[in-house]
Amino acid sequence: MYSQGLIGADGATEETEEFLAKFQARIDREEKIEPNDAMPNGYRKTLVRQIGQHAHSEIVGMLPEGNWITRAPSLRRKAALLAKVQDEGGHGLYLYSAAETLGVTREQMTEELLSGKAKYSSIFNYPTPTWADIGTIGWLVDGAAIMNQIPLCRCSYGPYARAMIRVCKEESFHQRQGYEILISLCNGTEEQKQMAQDSINRWWWPALMMFGPHDAESSHSEQSMKWKIKRFSNDELRQKFIDATVPQAEYLGLTVPDPDLKWNPDKNDGKGGYDHGEIDWDEFWRVVKGHGKMNRDRIKDRKKAWDDGAWVREAALAHAEKRAARQTQHAAE
């Protein structure tokens, strides 16, 4: 997710004060920055990193859900899941295209993902052992993604902002679809309810981690806020997510696995909100640094698909060249 996309981002710039001030004035006027516009190198680098990581998250995110396509419990669910995973691939494609407008190729970004240089959202390093996880991912993971991504529709970089408008519409549909899977489970048998509860137990905290470290530890957030790449802080978005989601869990009859969770009427300037327990940041950093349950498997899977597909991509290229050569020859004759 985008907050995690900023971990370690180096927004350092070498441009003159005058150039930077002019650029900042454009940002402050809420002008969209377009691919051919002059921009600080740090702005470009931050976006390449963030959009690239966002794209990788969509692509790696196809794996945990794809895990259930062949085992979906009904034809309706199978079709919906296929369409959903396909949407995630589509998001990856728009986002790679948006990043390409900043002068980096999809191949370069893919190589960085496969070599471990580029990161993706830590959430996808958790496994999906049960069908309920497909519901929970839609509800919590896509729900958290929406919280992060709605403000990105107003991101100062035009191609990213425009891509996010469509992405958000689809994510919102996914979130409702995931919730509907859980409604079916929670209206079902005791085994189905237990499956749903077990799933929220495993996904709740990792979903909260998707918003990234506490504001105080999010070292590059300030510059990104100034450039209007980012509009809200990690903790603000996390709080919004918790406040929106807890009532949804209650409606399902599921227990949020946080004993410290309680309503606080004074929170959010007197509008009320939930106090919550502390996130296990050791786990967060462990997973971000590659030591989650599925980190190795995810990269291995992506690498296998890429390596196994090399001959196909080479053949497509060779065929296109042959075809072009034949056309040139025809034209000459």
Binding site: S74, Q86, A316
Partner: protein, 250 residues
């Protein structure tokens, strides 16, 4: 009439479900991102057709079985799909060739089904004929690219042809039920698709520089539930939830 039409619809539905399932196995693992979007599209078309066909078969049967009961809760020997569609994906060359072989059969089949005297069959045909035209184009273009690509891709493509061609003949075979449904004018005669299938495939093979092999011993048996060993594994995945958690709504 209802039993033969029920069984003939199941043959068609099973073909679409099983091939759709096979294509769906690729999702997230395709050679390029564009194919990770294209293959689920084809899988969705086929699973969509299967759903309509199962639902109609269930209505014809009149015993209250819905699409999921028919798709998930039969034993291995009760599936009537042709053997071609259950073949493992192997590599991208096999997958695209299998899709092309099936689509090149289904396109004239659905076109003929537009003349069916059964309104529901005409409806399903009307939707499917458009989808399958796109499958022929998509899979056919890949067969050409791979057949006339690199040395390796040409070899893989020709290997796929050698491996899958013995399963083609079954596409045209008429079971007694399919024959009865055809005699009543409800479904087309499969044998009548042979010329158009051969023309479509020859056209692609010419461009792909592939040779059409002679098949001495065609592989048959899917329509009577005599499947290969891979089918059981496919079904154990497909049916897992319905078998492990019986009688629940999802």
């Amino acid at each position: 009439m209802s039993a033969p039409l029920f069984n003939a619809l199941l043959e068609l539905a099973d073909d679409h479900l099983i091939l759709g399932h096979r294509v769906s196995e690729w999702c997230g693992h395709a050679p390029l991102l564009e194919e990770d979007l294209a293959m689920p599209n084809m899988a969705l078309d086929m699973i969509g057709a299967a759903r309509s066909l199962y639902t109609y078969a269930g209505e014809i049967e009149g015993e209250g079985r819905d699409e999921d009961q028919l798709a998930y809760l039969r034993y291995d020997r009760e599936y009537k799909n042709c053997l071609l569609v259950e073949r493992p994906n192997e590599d991208f060359a096999h997958t695209m060739l299998k899709q092309l072989y099936f689509a090149a059969f289904m396109h004239p089949y659905w076109e003929a089904a537009l003349q069916s005297n059964d309104e529901t069959v005409r409806g399903i045909a009307g939707k499917s004929v458009k989808e399958v035209a796109y499958h022929i184009r998509h899979a056919g273009e890949w067969v050409v690219r791979l057949g006339d690509g690199t040395e390796e891709s040409a070899k893989r493509m020709q290997d796929a042809v050698t491996e899958l061609h013995p399963y083609v003949e079954e596409l045209f075979h008429m079971s007694a039920d399919a024959q009865a449904a055809a005699d009543k004018g409800a479904l087309p005669d499969r044998e009548a698709m042979r010329t158009q299938w051969t023309n479509s495939i020859s056209n692609v093979f010419d461009q792909a520089k592939l040779t059409m092999p002679e098949v001495e011993y065609p592989q048959l048996g899917g329509r009577t539930g005599h499947h290969g060993e891979e089918m059981g594994h496919l079904l154990s995945e497909l049916q897992y939830m319905q078998r492990a958690y019986p009688n629940m709504s999802w």
